[in-house]
Symmetry: C2
């Protein structure tokens, strides 16, 4: 929702003033909107944009060389008035004529039309080319009555480039018509925006559903359907757009994926990846795509895809340099294109030779990773919740990724005849790689150290000898795990970290084994000690926990790393007991 407001009646005006103050080298606020603060050559056509506020960067963010000369800025979602447009247009006039490129809404058309009449009476040549890109708003047979949505970004960028090149008003108008006729957009929305001062969103889309063809102010769309994946959304939009694609094969096409505000960059990139694939598979060629937020609607969730079918002239203009606050091209001379070697996948070093007893222990250990994976899967959400109290809440997800990768690596290593040492090293590397974060890095170094300690050939528990001697390698491996984590993480016992659950585990394991316990008994006692110690971290106020925050909000909640360690050693025991 829109939360930061001083006075909701002044919202748009204050935001615009703030924008202008942040961009004094580029723009100046005049009555009615924003114009370039720098001079243009005499006789250059001036490109006038505009519309309601609430769509930033549209339109004020596109004022600059190679794009718009001025933006008339109405109130929130309201078209600018005639006098606002006249004021902005007058401030931009370079005596080369004006081109108005509004988006096709009746209020905007009324005001831009009235402003054009006023300026023509003053002897200024004004042309109007409304953008009509939204395929959902009228059938193809009536395309010129369609409303304008995000495709105006592409049309205006192209028109601005034509004006910057010094083309005549007739030529620029021709470019504007060609760019508009070549541009089609189709969008979906997942939730409405909340206007400044409003208590509720402008409209609501039921959870898990999406509205097809919704306008940028929440005007009705053509249908509502289930969400699907990012790929599904990409396919749906591209298929809709392809209904009107030009018949000739091999067209070059500018692609613009626009986020409406609350649909964020990563999500847009997911959709773009599939859009690009579909377009290229169809035999067309994607040219200089743009993926981002250019025509927003406050915090509305949704996106649109715009395609502009380029000819040589439109492509030249689409690629021309520009410099605005919100879009720039051709900024700095880039170096030559580098050649990259193909990534050398699959050249994993071979599995070192291992003793049969270590190989059989490794198979057993690979099964233990299955139990561990199950335990973490079951507790993923809980771990995330307790982590969120003191940390960043990602512990459950990170552990899940790590343990999943480690299980897979362990299974593969065991299947290829690895010994225990190699299995632990591979599982650790996979955990660190896929788990990420502090916990991933620590489990990675810990398992690697344990693997190095135990090696691939040592005699293991099922050999002959007194229990405490037979089990010595296991104790040493757990001690190596603990030492590596203490050294790498820098935490000490009592710091409310996973160390608080590790140290009691290793101590109890060693004590029980020295007292003559079997491995199963000793491990059970150690796991219990670890669980109790993890629970006790709830009584501790973190001194130097993961998030390095001063303050003590974590009292009463145990450390997530300690809890997950205890869960894991307990799960190994479950396997042991089978």
């Amino acid at each position: 929702m829109t939360r930061l407001i001083n006075d909701h009646a002044e919202f748009a005006a204050q935001a615009l003033a703030g924008f202008a103050a942040s961009q004094v080298d580029r723009v100046t606020a005049v009555h009615g909107g924003i114009v370039r603060s720098t001079t243009c050559p005499d006789g250059q056509v001036a490109v006038i944009m505009g519309g309601g506020s609430g769509h930033f960067p549209a339109f004020a963010g596109w004022v600059g060389p190679g794009f718009g000369n001025g933006a008339a800025c109405g109130n929130v979602f309201a078209s600018p008035s005639e006098s606002q447009i006249v004021s902005v247009a007058r401030a931009c006039d370079n005596a080369g004529g004006l081109i108005f490129v509004p988006i096709n809404y009746s209020g905007d058309i009324l005001s831009f039309g009235a402003a054009a009449e006023t300026l023509r009476r003053e002897g200024i040549d004004v042309r109007i080319v409304p953008v009509t890109d939204d395929i959902a708003s009228a059938p193809a047979s009536a395309w010129s009555t369609r409303r304008g949505i995000a495709g105006c970004f592409v049309v205006l960028k192209i028109v601005g480039a034509a004006a910057e090149q010094g083309r005549s008003l007739d030529e620029v108008e021709g470019v504007a018509r060609a760019a508009n006729e070549a541009t089609r957009s189709f969008g979906v929305a997942f939730s409405g925006c909340t206007l400044p001062g409003a208590a509720a969103p402008l409209f609501v889309v039921p959870p898990g559903r999406m509205a097809l063809g919704l306008g940028i102010h929440g005007e009705p769309g053509i249908a509502e359907t289930d969400m699907g994946t990012a790929d599904d959304v990409a396919r749906l939009l591209v298929e809709g757009l392809f209904d009107e694609r030009p018949p000739e094969p091999g067209r070059r096409v500018a692609v613009f994926v626009n986020g409406l505000g609350a649909t964020k960059y990563d999500e847009l990139f997911l959709v773009f990846a599939r859009v690009r694939e579909l377009i290229e598979t169809s035999g067309m060629r994607v040219v200089a795509p743009v993926v981002g937020e250019q025509v927003t609607s406050f915090d509305m969730a949704g996106l649109s895809v715009s395609l502009t079918y380029l000819d040589a002239d439109l492509e030249e203009l689409w690629l021309a340099p520009t410099d605005t606050s919100s879009f720039a091209l051709g900024a700095v001379a880039r170096g030559a294109r580098r050649e990259f070697a193909e990534p050398a996948d699959g050249d994993e070093p071979p599995i070192p030779e291992a003793s049969p007893v270590s190989q059989s222990a490794a198979l057993y250990l690979a099964h233990a990773f299955v139990s561990v994976h199950g335990a973490i899967a079951e507790n993923e959400e809980h771990l995330g919740m307790i982590d969120a109290v003191a940390g960043d809440g990602d512990h459950g997800m990170g552990m899940m990724r790590g343990v999943t990768a480690a299980k897979l690596a362990a299974e593969q290593a065991a299947a290829h005849g690895a010994g225990v040492g190699t299995l632990l090293a591979r599982a650790g590397a996979a955990w660190s790689e896929q788990g990420g974060g502090t916990s991933g890095a620590l489990w990675g170094v810990g398992l690697s150290a344990a693997g190095a300690s135990i090696g691939d050939t040592q005699a293991l528990p099922d050999d002959a000898g007194a229990p405490d001697q037979r089990l010595r390698p296991v104790v040493e491996a757990t001690r190596a795990f603990s030492d590596a984590i203490l050294a790498t993480g820098g935490a000490e016992l009592g710091d409310k970290t996973m160390v608080d659950a590790i140290v009691p585990f290793v101590d109890m394991l060693e004590r029980a084994i020295e007292a003559g316990s079997t491995l199963a008994d000793a491990w059970a006692k150690a796991a219990t000690a670890s669980t109790e110690a993890a629970d006790r971290t709830a009584d501790v106020v973190s001194r130097r926990g993961r998030s390095r925050i001063h303050g003590a909000r974590s009292l009463g909640v145990p450390d997530a790393g300690a809890v997950s360690f205890a869960l894991i050693v307990s799960a190994v025991l479950g396997q042991e007991a089978r």
Copy 2:
């Protein structure tokens, strides 16, 4: 929330692939992250960034000349692994040494540290300078242990410029330390983000409250407080930052207002406007501010302010050109700075002379605008709701703005002796200017036409003569209002627009007056006819309504413009009846 997902385990990887595919001229994906796709001079220091995914543009969006050479990209909110960092760093090495600039989180520090060790063993000189800008994460006495948040944008931009200039690794490291020591950030959060695949947000802030000093993953902050206005938030953040401002007066300072994802551009500009004022008032000077989303956290709502106290060297580097997908400076040669005349406020043309009877009718009419204003205020929300069904939901807000401005203009005109014609013209101009949108434009032309029709001198109802003759100017003025709207808006009766309520009103008014009614009676009958006609628009499926959508979702809901017209003429009657 994060909605567009294919496979939540693959979310970050797929998003990164999509990003790389959208920027082939700038970047290439390698194992572990993103590097420039273009060559660098031999011996140039390479700047390596990185961290968890979900913060775009940080860090992949900052890869390019004058900024970072490579970004190691971990999984969602998880630090990259050692091997990812090593892979990205190797791909960036120009034989001039590497500088790692992670943000200070234990996982990142672990992985970058381990990667540095590995690369140093290969003979590569690697320096590490973690960013520690978040003043909320530790006291000033322990500033070097603070976590890093959005200030990394400023630090990395400056470090990237130093490397681009060809400075040595020692020099670049010195710049990095100086930039970090000069940078302080402080942020607030209003709501948590929902990670891909998660059902609920990572954390929740109660409505109307904000969390101070929250980390970019939702790590705990230092306090929770009531929201306040945009100005309040700006003051709170700047005052927090000023606790550590340098003692010398007149410092030049880079200001960066960062949005976390769901706090949108207009809101950020509101806050920036006040931040700038507070800084300039304190005697410091704002240099090349940046306002936007650079370090996000999916759809988290909140923002931070970062201040970097510049010396001459840091300022030069802050202003140096750069070209990345998400931030560019110095793109295109701009023209010279223009001089703008001060806006000529207050030179409103004088009030034309009016007859006493027209002046007294104008006073009466100004009172009628007060009633009209009250009626619209009472129905603002209702009008917005019925408009949202077929239009963009802004009708209530637009009418409210328009009628408020019209009331003020009418009162001022009447107080300065205007006649009815001038009062209506001024009210119409104000309505169009402030109301905006289609309704603002149409009420503007309608009231102006009515004013022109009735003029400032005509005899009015209280004069002598038969009622139908005495009241003729009123009928003609309403007819002029109707004709102007028909001509300008292009809608016809039955199109489900305000015209459907206007035409029956004017027809009934004329009929009743011709039948000898008093103005009060005739107006009452006409207002009733208008209300009934407006209600009947609920039975109509819009053929060419404001939003120009095909489809018929508006059946059962009346047209908002027709309803508001009926409300207004009924409110005038309320005034009449007093």
